[in-house]
């Protein structure tokens, strides 16, 4: 009986004690974990934000670089196209370079200096008037005129080839002065 009583007393003492302890302990733990979570979350968020920002920066930098590259390559292509598309023109039965043709050739020389790996073909053309064999010789002379001018501007002769097409490859097949003036030309082809 006496043993039972002790157990009861002990239980009476221990249980509320336990309750107290648990409730106290619970309270402390609860406070601690909340604070830690928040901090981690914040840190993580911050890190995430930072990472995003970094990624954005990186992307921006890449974009920027690409844009620059694109712009640069656009410029290169544009310069290349200009080089290919800008013809010089001659008067009937003439192979001497007009002042405006010399300006065009100066730009071409600059491009050739900027692109030292490139070689070009100068094509000499004539309008359909006149006769075939003479026009082949005249086209040759027109191509040689441009070639010699580029050599005088410091371009190595080894980078310059000429081909005469005479009247065989008109740019404009019509038969009037407008077409003929377009056909009396040197064309420049990058090899």
């Amino acid at each position: 009986m006496k043993k039972k009583l002790w157990i009861c007393v002990a239980l009476l003492l221990v249980i509320p004690g336990l309750l107290f302890v648990t409730s106290c302990a619970k309270k402390v733990v609860k406070v601690d974990t909340t604070q830690e979570d928040e901090a981690a979350k914040l840190a993580a968020e911050k890190a995430r934000q930072e990472e995003i920002a970094r990624q954005l920066d990186r992307q921006r930098a890449i974009d920027e670089e690409n844009l620059q590259k694109e712009a640069a390559s656009r410029e290169i292509i544009a310069a290349r196209n200009l080089f290919m598309n800008e013809n010089i023109y001659f008067d009937f039965d003439m192979s001497n370079l007009k002042p405006e043709s010399q300006e065009v050739l100066k730009r071409k020389a600059e491009w050739l200096r900027n692109n030292p790996g490139e070689s070009i073909i100068v094509e000499g053309h004539c309008d359909e008037r006149g006769t075939n064999e003479y026009n082949l010789a005249l086209g040759d002379r027109r191509a040689q005129s441009a070639k010699n001018f580029l050599i005088d501007l410091g371009i190595a002769e080894s980078r310059l080839t000429t081909i005469s097409y005479g009247e065989e490859r008109p740019a404009d097949p019509r038969q009037n002065e407008d077409a003929w003036s377009k056909n009396r030309r040197d064309q420049f082809v990058i090899e």
Partner: protein, 444 residues
């Protein structure tokens, strides 16, 4: 190839059988039928009745008709003759063409000064023809020949007899064995073609997928030189017509406008590897012998005098393209053309006395001839008929072929050396340019 050698064998047989059995003593007499100095002002009226068919079979009659028509057309082509319409004939060719039966009054009565009679016998695909040319006023035989050959060679037999006729009347064999090389775009690209003197039987010679220009015959007609872009730039090709072998001149710049030296395996051409367009003398293998010109400006389009002592060419040394003549021994050069500011495409006449060329004014080219001494003003042969270029003489000097845009696209035309009888030589799909008449005798 097989076909060609077969033709050759048959042709040799044909020459052998063409006998002189009916040549009269009169043949050696000089006949003043054709005034060589101005032969086209009055055409000789000639009657060519249908040949007599010996067996009277349908096949034979058809061939007789064909052969006599071809003879008429071929003679008319020379520009010397006026063919009298068969409807006007008073005589019946079936009975009246046997030598003893010819009543020459029936022919002089309709204005015929010359008469050709023929008989044709066909057996086993072999034709025998007897052809005779008479002077109707004198009532005499000028020339008579007998030919035998396979049906396919009828054209050759008729042309052989045409050659005999022209030889008797002019002392020259004429054009009937000659061919014409030209450039045509028929294949889609400019390639060289060959045809017979009258535009028949054209065949493609080159098969380049680029640009081919300026064919030039060697004087034995065994070689053709031309310019081709088949390697991307204008190079000079020298090709044997029989075995298609040869050489290429592919120096930097242009390698163009070939012309063979008469009687030699040498040719002149314009090369620009030096930076200037000069005419060089080359061997037939394409090796440089020497410079022929050495002058600032364009020197192009050489053509040799028949004796090979002189060369005419185009030069821009005076500021515009003009024709010059160089004495090849002394190297002396004199300017030939002074009329107009653009004279190109010279072609030296086989008779040696004239040069044909294309002169441009008001944007259109016309064909001219000028005496080689330049003493007389040039004679303009084409007028208001498109752009006319590339004149080339027939081997007897009687005709000139040239290219013209008178019907729109460029085509090859032919006219007499005096500009009369201008007509189209042939019409293939595409455009035709650069005609070049072969020498007279082709034995390959």
């Amino acid at each position: 190839m097989l076909n060609k050698s077969l033709i050759k064998i048959i042709f040799i047989c044909l020459i052998a059988t063409a006998s002189f059995f009916i040549d009269s003593a009169h043949c050696q007499t000089e006949y003043d039928y054709i005034d060589i100095n101005n032969p086209f002002t009055r055409k000789i009226p000639i009657a060519v009745p249908v040949f007599k068919s010996m067996s009277g079979s349908e096949g034979e009659k058809f061939l007789s008709q064909e052969a006599s028509n071809l003879l008429s057309r071929s003679l008319e082509f020379t520009g010397y003759f006026k063919i009298i319409d068969r409807d006007a004939y008073l005589a019946d060719p079936e009975t009246d063409i046997i030598v003893s039966n010819i009543n020459f009054k029936n022919w002089t009565g309709i204005g015929a000064e010359l008469l050709i009679t023929g008989s044709l016998f066909l057996k086993d695909n072999v034709i025998e023809m007897e052809l005779r040319l008479y002077d109707t006023f004198k009532g005499s035989l000028i020339v008579g020949k007998r030919y035998k050959g396979v049906v396919n060679n009828q054209r050759k037999m008729i042309h052989r007899f045409c050659g005999e006729i022209i030889y008797k009347l002019t002392g020259n064999r004429g054009i009937f064995d000659s061919r014409i090389a030209f450039v045509s775009t028929t294949s889609g690209n400019k390639n060289i073609y060959l045809c017979e003197f009258d535009g028949h039987n054209s065949e493609q010679l080159t098969y380049d997928k680029s640009i081919t220009l300026s064919p030039a015959w060697s004087s034995d007609a065994k070689w053709i030189a031309y310019t081709s872009y088949s390697k991307g730039k204008p190079d000079l090709y020298i090709k044997n017509l029989k075995d298609k072998h040869g050489a290429v001149v592919a120096k930097k710049g242009i390698n163009i406008s070939p012309a063979w030296v008469p009687g030699k395996f040498q040719l002149a051409a314009t090369l620009s590897f030096s930076g200037d367009q000069e005419i060089y003398l080359l061997t037939g293998k394409g090796e440089i012998v020497k410079n022929l010109t050495n002058n600032w400006g364009i020197d192009v389009s050489p053509t040799f005098s028949p004796d090979g002592n002189k060369m005419a060419f185009v030069s821009s040394r005076s500021g515009s393209p003009q024709i010059y003549i160089m004495d090849l021994d002394s190297g002396q050069v004199k300017r030939l053309t002074f009329q107009g500011t653009y004279n190109t495409c010279p072609s030296w006449s086989p008779r040696g006395d004239k040069i044909a060329y294309s002169g441009m004014g008001n944007g259109q080219g016309n064909i001219y001839t000028i005496d080689v001494e330049g003493e007389f003003p040039a004679l303009q042969l084409t007028h208001n008929s498109g752009n006319n270029e590339s004149p080339t003489w027939s081997p007897d000097g009687s005709l000139i072929a040239f290219s013209s845009t008178r019907e729109g696209p460029s085509r090859v035309y032919v006219m007499t050396a005096y500009g009369t009888d201008q007509r189209r030589l042939l019409a293939l799909p595409g455009e035709q340019t650069d005609p070049e008449w072969s020498p007279g005798v082709i034995d390959n």
